[in-house]
């Protein structure tokens, strides 16, 4: 989400639909959130490139993830992915079913599979764009097949998997509706998709500090944090992709750091550096210094540390199957809402 080091090359593309947080209302404690506009959600699954959105440089993201995965101590930076991976695995356990065949989309080093066991998941396919991440993946007892695949172009047949999971990788996908449609496609009927992705308020402190610093130092600002999906849009996207019985819930993880530079270093170590096409390749040292001072002053804790907020959206969606519960037909009610006051009587009558 942040690129602080000067790049030797950068390309600037004219983007059809890109937007970022409009101004910074940080003074009153408000949180500006960058959101993706809805005008980009017109491309159909397998549709023409004219509707395609190109926000992120996927080749660069692959390089960044490869670099992050081949570091000597990956565990030092990937605590957040470990934590979210375990929470997604909890949600898998919550479903009272076992899944013979599962797929992990954008698995990274495999943070979900290490928490699952052979009874719940028979075999798991792990797909990621970074080969180093697949090579250095975490040990798990489930038989694994590792596939080098992009989240938007899954190389699997229709109705293959009972379970698809995804943890913290969908926020780098260019065409999110298409990715959801692909996931829906590879799922079997009555299959479930459990995903986790970063949401609207993530890193708002960093976003705000950088905007204010750039405004004060340079007179204008450019986006350094990538745009995140809003929770309403997420529900709509999942619905349009064909998922039933949606559940979206949000969780906030706040991590304390000594200062802004450590935040940026950890983000880069996680492989979460910025890769949008419209990123500014250079962040001046003075701007960094100013932003760090602002971050400390505006958001610092009493003990001198600074918080970084990560908002995670967990989503569960099911592929339609006849056995699933459906909404009742209109006019099939047997009791009226007006009788709600007499519900005790109704229950005791029912027991007799």
């Amino acid at each position: 989400m942040l690129k602080a080091v000067q790049l030797r090359w950068w390309r600037r593309l004219v983007l059809a639909a890109l937007r970022h947080g409009a101004g910074c209302g940080c003074g009153g404690g408000g949180r500006p959130s960058g959101t993706r506009g809805t005008s980009s959600y017109r491309s159909a699954f397998g549709g023409a490139a004219s509707g395609a959105v190109n926000v992120f440089d996927r080749v660069l993201k692959r390089k960044q993830k490869n670099w992050a995965a081949q570091q000597p101590e990956p565990l030092k930076y990937e605590y957040l992915k470990e934590e979210v991976g375990s929470r997604v695995a909890d949600r898998v356990y919550d479903i009272a079913r076992d899944f013979p065949l599962a797929l992990d989309v954008g698995c990274g080093r495999g943070y979900i599979a290490q928490h699952l066991n052979k009874e719940v998941v028979g075999k798991i396919f792990q797909a990621d764009i970074a080969e180093n991440a697949l090579k250095n993946s975490v040990e798990t007892e489930i038989p694994t097949v590792r596939v080098l695949a992009d989240e938007e172009f899954l190389p699997f047949k229709e109705n293959t998997f009972d379970l698809v999971v995804s943890s913290l990788s969908l926020h780098w996908v260019n065409d999110l509706p298409r990715a959801f449609k692909q996931i829906h496609y590879v799922l079997k009927p009555d299959g479930v998709f459990i995903g986790a992705m970063f949401g609207g308020d993530t890193l708002f402190e960093l976003r705000c500090s950088l905007q204010l610093a750039e405004l004060e130092r340079e007179g204008g600002f450019s986006p350094h944090i990538s745009p995140f999906t809003a929770v309403n849009d997420l529900g709509h996207l999942l619905g349009r992709a064909g998922f039933n019985t949606l559940t979206v819930d949000t969780d906030e993880i706040q991590v304390n750091f000594p200062g802004m530079f450590e935040v940026m270093e950890d983000l880069q170590g996680m492989g979460e550096s910025n890769c949008s096409w419209n990123r500014k390749p250079l962040l001046h040292r003075e701007t960094m210094l100013a932003a760090a001072a602002i971050y400390q002053e505006m958001y610092g804790n009493e003990d001198g540390s600074v918080p970084a907020t990560f908002q995670i959206y967990y989503m569960i969606g099911w592929k339609y199957h006849d056995s699933q519960a459906r909404p009742a037909q209109r006019g099939s009610a047997t009791v009226s809402f007006g009788d709600l006051g007499k519900i005790n009587n109704l229950i005791s009558h029912g027991k007799k």
Partner: protein, 103 residues
């Protein structure tokens, strides 16, 4: 991140000194932060170089921190010519080249 990586490691090593320098200059950083926060509040107007005075103070403090090798606490000097004040190994060249004068 290409070729020998010499430029990248040099830049990285400089950036690694930033957190401790910033910690040493806590008071100036707080003053600058307060100025910007006040300007960004509703009713204020944040424009370029509004808090230039506070930032100058912060920058001077930042640059003047002499990095002593072997992990001793950084000592803050007033602005002296580099040749006379250099105590840390390799501290002098990186300090001089640290912050470019804004155009």
């Amino acid at each position: 991140m290409s070729g020998t990586g010499a430029v990248w490691s040099r830049v990285r090593s400089r950036i690694r000194s930033f957190p401790e320098r910033l910690a040493t200059c806590g008071a100036e950083a707080a003053a600058y932060g307060k100025c910007v926060q006040a300007a960004a509040a509703p009713g204020g107007e944040l424009r370029r170089n509004l808090c230039a005075k506070e930032f100058e103070a912060l920058r001077n403090c930042f640059v003047a921190v002499v990095r002593v090798a072997a992990g001793l606490a950084a000592a803050s000097f007033s602005r002296l010519p580099r040749a006379g004040a250099g105590e840390g190994k390799g501290g002098a060249p990186s300090d001089r080249a640290l912050l470019p004068v804004p155009a």
